[in-house]
Subunit: 417 residues, 2 copies
């Protein structure tokens, strides 16, 4: 590899999650030699959580990361094997033992990591289409099937190891790959009726909504199934009101932290797309038509930063956002300015309620003490992340329990008939 | 302007503070048409603090920002005037009145901002040399001189409006511009003896060390002086131990947040400079020779992130850092892994003391809940910023008092003779 290739490889490893999914989306129609690696399970602690993805092409380049780097060489070799057989493989890395094996010494994360490697087929479009269109989705993969007797692998279940389906929570609908999609795997084709959707829909909805992944054990008609449910949440939306140059670093950092960013300028703000190249969308609006101009729903998964530096525009944006029930409205400026704004709200009989106040974060940002445009933006995006993830933004060393909350999702084994 | 020029201008406005000073350093020997704008005083609230800088060239381009954008057009005009006269000017922007003037409506920050505009001369090298060599410095500028009778401007003081000196805390030494430096200003040349160094050294040291700026009122032999003391702290040092690809985003974000970043790889780690282009320095080291290989002092202004993902290397790095008294040692990995490390320290009779524990941040980072490489890096750099600025990293809306702590520095009016 040349030096610039090395730099590029390095960069690809640490791209935002959203970029990994977008890259998968782009490569669906490639020559079929790409392999998708996904962390299925972690026992103990690891750098990445279940659901973390890496796309590997046949030149040995990877986009995304499933460890901090130590396992990547071995994963490239495993991908080569998957490419050869055309069949998915589950590979287990035991990093528990610090003393006597190469992984333990190299990674020292005290965890066992299970990785699913599979040839990327067009059937996966069902997942990436949902993501790019702003819908949550869960990718379901059968990891094992057993009869009532644990040793017997002969069952009546139509599902087999490697079978795949996509669950779409909004429509409560499963889609299954067909031969047209270039589907691969031992299990051949399945249909929607083959999957216990009544048992899986609840955990799949929850994991998809939170963008988390888990292995679900379930028992259906005497057959025990292990299904990997890989929830891919639509990116959280961040709407930034403002067009000053302080908007630039907020947009850049939010985008790198996996938010889909819309920059909204007031009153003929021009060249927004050129000035804020990291924004996914830019909109020019006027007081009174904000919601119409936005052309997007403002809901409980929208986060908003208000930094127009214009008192009147700020107030109108805040009012629109609070009326829409947005859970995070960060308002730039000192507390005194917000007090003035409250007086104006009172004068117009739009009283700020306790609910409004719980969504309003002003002065905006975490208290990190920085004063440069980047430092201010860093503290803003840190706050949005913490609110989005429902965290108390203290030092992690002060947190009780695990760094990543474990999601315990269980399928109800006796669904209503 | 073309679109790409607009994007460039936008980017220049929001560069890190360190880049503004570096840009000033580069432009010292330019054609002399550059104008340096510095916020001298803020009454009320404003986007930037005193000391914020913007360098304006005669093509109308600016690097750095002193507001979020609304005042920049007017500042460009003021710079044109300074360029014409060759004399420094103090310009005041009153943003207090929200109702009846253009600034109030546009900025709404409830503040009065005073900006010093001056032709950039080679004399300023005294400041930027210090910065690039890692030394703190304070730039002193006389804003006014009065006799005992307030109305009388005739005094015996050798100092006059616009006079300039540079204070170097480490050496307790003033340097003054000479004609050779292309110095400008009404007051002509001064010498070190003209400046009340015994009165100024204490506040100038404190402001330089903290990178803060303030106007100091002092009275010397019946003469009242107003001196703007612009403290420029050497960049804080962040040393990152590790060479996995998760080091990339930490390096990038720390650099944008004004840290000078050194990446330290163990045992023949190669291509570090190519792989981490945002690092200011890269070093390859071995256990036992860390401090020698670093070729920099580890002291109370060094912050360290330990993320080698190798248990042995991590422990050696942590030991070196704790022994050197570094105030922040962030260690990646779960708490259980740290407990194992403590056992090894105990076994080697290097007990971890309470002091050690107060410097150790593990698990590293703020609790923001993100799991992607960028989100992890964001939480790490947010924690380093908060510790560096001595802040409790909660939501700013929960903070009592001002967002920026006010530094009250007073010169002792009766210094020891």
């Amino acid at each position: 590899m040349t030096e610039s290739q090395k730099t590029q490889t390095q960069r690809n490893w640490s791209v935002p999650e959203t970029e990994v999914v977008q890259r998968v989306h782009q490569r669906l129609e490639a020559d079929g030699s790409d392999v998708l690696a996904t962390i299925v399970d972690v026992d103990g602690n690891a750098y990445r959580r279940p659901g973390a993805k890496m796309l590997l092409d046949d030149a040995g380049d990877g986009v995304g990361s499933i460890t901090a780097g130590c396992l990547e060489d071995d994963i490239l070799r495993a991908a080569e094997s998957v490419r050869g057989t055309g069949q998915p493989e589950l590979v287990t890395y035991d990093l528990m033992d610090d003393d006597d094996d190469v992984w333990g010494l190299g990674v020292g994360c005290n965890g066992i990591i299970e990785v699913l490697l599979e040839p990327l087929t067009p059937s996966y479009r069902s997942a990436t289409d949902a993501f790019t269109e702003g819908r949550d989705v869960a990718v379901l993969t059968v990891l094992s099937v057993h009869g009532e007797d644990v040793d017997a692998s002969d069952t009546d279940s139509p599902l087999a190891y490697g079978d795949r389906a996509y669950y779409h929570p909004g429509e409560d609908r499963l889609s299954t790959p067909s031969d047209d999609d270039g589907a691969s795997g031992d299990g051949g084709e399945t249909t929607e009726a083959d999957w216990p959707i009544d048992v899986l829909s609840e955990p799949a909805s929850e994991l998809a909504g939170r963008g988390r992944a888990n292995v679900i054990d379930l028992e259906v008609d005497g057959t025990r199934l292990e299904v990997f449910v890989d929830g891919i949440a639509a990116p959280a939306e961040l709407v930034v009101f403002g067009s000053g140059h302080d908007v630039g670093p907020v947009t850049e950092l939010a985008s790198k932290n996996d938010f889909r960013v819309t920059v909204v300028g007031f009153r003929g703000a021009v060249d927004l797309a050129e000035r804020f190249p990291d924004a996914d969308r830019t909109v020019t609006t006027s007081p009174g038509t904000i919601e119409d101009d936005l052309e997007m729903g403002l809901d409980d998964r929208t986060y908003a930063v208000v930094m127009t530096h214009n008192f009147v525009d700020d107030r109108l944006a805040v009012e629109t956002l609070l009326d829409a029930g947005v859970p995070y409205v960060g308002l730039m400026g000192p507390h005194e300015r917000f007090e003035e704004m409250i007086e104006e709200f009172d004068a117009e009989e739009r009283t700020i309620t306790d609910d409004d106040r719980s969504s309003l974060y002003t002065p905006i940002g975490l208290d990190l003490g920085g004063g440069s445009p980047y430092q201010i933006a860093h503290s803003i995006v840190a706050e949005v992340l913490a609110v989005h993830n429902d965290r108390d933004p203290r030092h992690l060393r002060a947190r009780e329990g695990h760094i990543h909350d474990r999601i315990e999702v269980e399928a109800d084994p006796t669904p209503p008939k």
